[in-house]
């Protein structure tokens, strides 16, 4: 059987495929979330040092992981759009950005709520939180640039260049912030001093991370379907779509 990899690279064919996939990913996300929350709240033991506040870790760390993962995937789709000149790849990048930014914000918000009882301040300039903040700016820059340019193809390509410049810079930014942090604050304040991982704690984090991942895919697919319809409005196949429910 000859596989045509580019069969789904066209919005026309990808649209229905995405529609079929979304329910599965949504279901997986819901199931994993329930399992993860159960582990987080009913199985994982109380932490000796931090008490119950450490349970925030089960959403903070997965959100942070997703924020970084989505950025890389977004940049990869953007690169594909630049290299292969495929509209759909750029649309996927645009579809991922808001979800990635959301997880970045969640990481920052939960980080603040974790920091307050643990270190007494709503915000700590620890290396990872500060890098997350800069990552949020990178996401916002990507979305702002795309929104500011009227021509969709130019917007796609320009934000793709920005995403690639960003992805190259993220390690540099992270290491410079890490270095800056150890220099100025010493090791007293650090999100990396997480409670010693009981196996259940690690499992809880992993399951929640998987849940976030499934959710992100579902959200991105749903969003890219909207983007496809918005951008391909003139095409006949769009007009011929039977009325669908959301």
């Amino acid at each position: 059987m000859k596989l045509n990899w580019f069969k789904y690279a066209s919005p026309v064919t990808f649209y229905p495929l995405a529609g079929k996939l979304i329910p599965w990913f949504a279901l997986a996300a819901a199931g994993l979330t329930l399992a993860g929350l159960y582990l987080s709240f009913f199985v994982a033991p109380t932490d000796f040092q931090q008490g119950e506040s450490y349970r925030i870790i089960f959403i903070h760390v997965p959100a942070a992981w997703m924020s970084m993962f989505i950025y890389v995937v977004m940049a990869a789709w953007a690169a594909a759009g630049l290299i292969f000149n495929t509209r759909l790849s750029s649309m996927m990048a645009s579809a991922l950005a808001p979800t990635g930014a959301l997880f970045t914000f969640i990481a920052l918000w939960t980080g603040a709520l974790w920091g307050k009882p643990t270190w007494g301040a709503w915000w700590v300039w620890d290396a990872r939180l500060t890098s997350e903040l800069i990552l949020l700016f990178l996401y916002i820059g990507f979305m702002a640039l795309h929104a500011a340019i009227d021509d969709p193809r130019r917007a796609d390509r320009a934000s793709a260049v920005l995403a690639l410049v960003g992805v190259v810079n993220v390690p540099i930014i992270y290491f410079s912030v890490k270095w800056w942090n150890t220099l100025h604050q010493g090791a007293s304040v650090s999100m990396t001093m997480a409670p010693k991982m009981a196996a259940t704690m690690l499992l809880g984090m992993l399951i929640m991370a998987l849940a976030c991942w499934m959710y992100s895919i579902a959200a991105a697919l749903a969003r890219v379907r909207c983007i496809i319809l918005e951008r391909e409005q003139q095409a006949e196949w769009v007009a011929n779509l039977s009325r669908e429910s959301t």
């Binding site: 009913f42 959403i59 808001p98 959301l102 969003r223 319809l229």
Partner: protein, 56 residues
């Protein structure tokens, strides 16, 4: 079962504000994203149907 009562569960050893502040806001944001996506979908549908009518 770690919790002795529902009260204990909600109090989270005194950290209830922070723990629930985190989880509830997260849940709220996710729900908001889903609702926004639905709204976007409705808007596109409307515009698409209008477009289809026009081109008939």
């Amino acid at each position: 079962m770690i919790w002795n009562s529902l009260g204990d569960f909600i109090a989270m050893g005194g950290y209830g504000f922070y723990v629930w502040g985190s989880y509830l806001v997260t849940a709220g944001l996710i729900v908001a994203e889903i609702l926004l996506l639905r709204a976007r979908r409705h808007a596109v549908e409307k515009s698409r149907q209008a477009q289809a009518l026009l081109s008939e």
